[in-house]
Symmetry: none
Subunit: 224 residues, 2 copies
DNA sequence: TTTGCAATGAGTGGATCCACTCATTTTTAT
DNA sequence: ATAAAAATGAGTGGATCCACTCATTGCAAA
């Protein structure tokens, strides 16, 4: 259901397998490496969406792994999460100041791990979905849109970003069926019918002039 | 040297002025607001690069501020840093899991603050650099349109106008099969794949290149 | 606590889009 | 005039979208 790829770089075998198991159980694809050099190699080959990395590793440490991966221009934006027993404030600040996206200290619960992953995936999709502001002169009536519920606006926002039903389902962590239901309800409330009418509407909506009241509401409600 | 703009949202006046002073001293531009609503308003008006926000605020709290600011499509990618006395692990995880970029607990040193800001600015510039490459790839796709034949451009224009295959077939006095064949050929020449990718491209082309010469030619061809 | 709405998910059926291949006719170019 | 390219049309299969209905869960307001 969710084909995001997570790379684990962790020395201790039991913990590495445990983490992989947790992540896989939540529907993500996962690969792992026991040391930094191999981790960097795997990152290059598989271009994971998220790298979760311990700091104390045999050979090069987690900080080195991060700096070396950061300098690889071929890699798309990748979230980097430190997962380590080094839990002092100084350790945390060092990791974050290097540019890490999150810093989890051991011991951690599986909920903390998964929530961190989900938050960073959301962040990545926001970045990828971001489009520069464009002015256009298309007249759209917003009267009916106020009837949409939160989930429906969230879906409409994703449609406007150009995503298809399977992609939206993956991004919002719900099933394709739910997205389809939302699409139908949106179409009904907006008096739309026929193929492509919804995406057509959404895309035209997207290029409305900045400062638009509905788009502000849409954005403010669209997560959590 | 550095014209990055930082927005501070902090209730306590002394702390707010202190933070502003520190940041200004390091060469950044800084604006501030004492409460959430005003902070959101300032973010919309000034589009800061980084927002530093307390959690305990009068009126709406910092989490609400973040949710509402997070996905405003008019705003470019903005780093969001929580700066708060709420320092338990649960508090930290809540903030990070909402998608914040960093979470600093009081009391903090000015070095910690500045380093956090610098790290997030670095991150932003990486993202923007990558973003511009993606924009360039759109230009490449746009150039490929010149390879399209007359009939294909005619069909593409109709797609951009929002018509479906049966409607286009009727307008151009050919069969639906012919239109479908043209659509496939267009998609292939433009390296498009997946559902809605063609209409999505056509609509974006129409609104993103309003005064484009090709689109004018294309429109004149399709009418006769 | 109960009622109602929102959100999620499943099932079914039809229409459309997408991606191949193949064939015939017309236009264009050498 | 002959070859190449374009335009038209058909067949097939798969994936997605659209439009219904129905059921379960969760949350929030009455």
């Amino acid at each position: 259901m969710n084909d995001s790829l997570i790379l684990i770089i962790e020395d201790e075998q039991a913990l590495r397998e445990n983490i992989s198991e947790i992540i896989a159980h939540y529907g993500f694809r996962v690969i792992s490496a026991p040391a930094g050099e191999e981790g960097i190699q795997m990152a290059l080959e598989h271009t994971p969406d998220i790298i979760i990395c311990d700091i104390m590793l045999p050979g090069i440490d987690g900080f080195d792994v991060f700096s070396r991966i950061k300098q690889i221009p071929q890699l798309p934006p990748t979230a980097f999460i430190f997962l380590t027993a080094k839990s002092t404030r100084a350790d945390t600040r060092t990791g974050m100041n290097m540019g890490a996206d999150d810093y989890l200290t051991k011991p951690f619960t599986k909920e903390e791990l998964i929530n961190s992953i989900k938050a960073r995936l959301e962040k990545l999709s926001e970045i990828n979905g971001y489009q520069s502001k464009q002015d256009a002169s298309i007249e759209v009536t917003f009267d009916k849109i106020t009837n949409l519920t939160k989930a429906e606006r969230r879906v409409l926002n994703q449609i406007a970003e150009g995503f298809t039903t399977p992609q939206i389902a993956q991004k919002l962590f719900v099933s394709k069926k739910t997205i389809e239901n939302h699409r139908v309800n949106i179409s009904r409330k907006l008096d739309l019918s026929g193929p492509n009418s919804l995406i057509s509407f959404a895309l035209r909506l997207k290029v409305q002039k900045p400062g638009n009241q509905f788009l502000n509401d849409l954005a403010s409600i669209s997560t959590h």
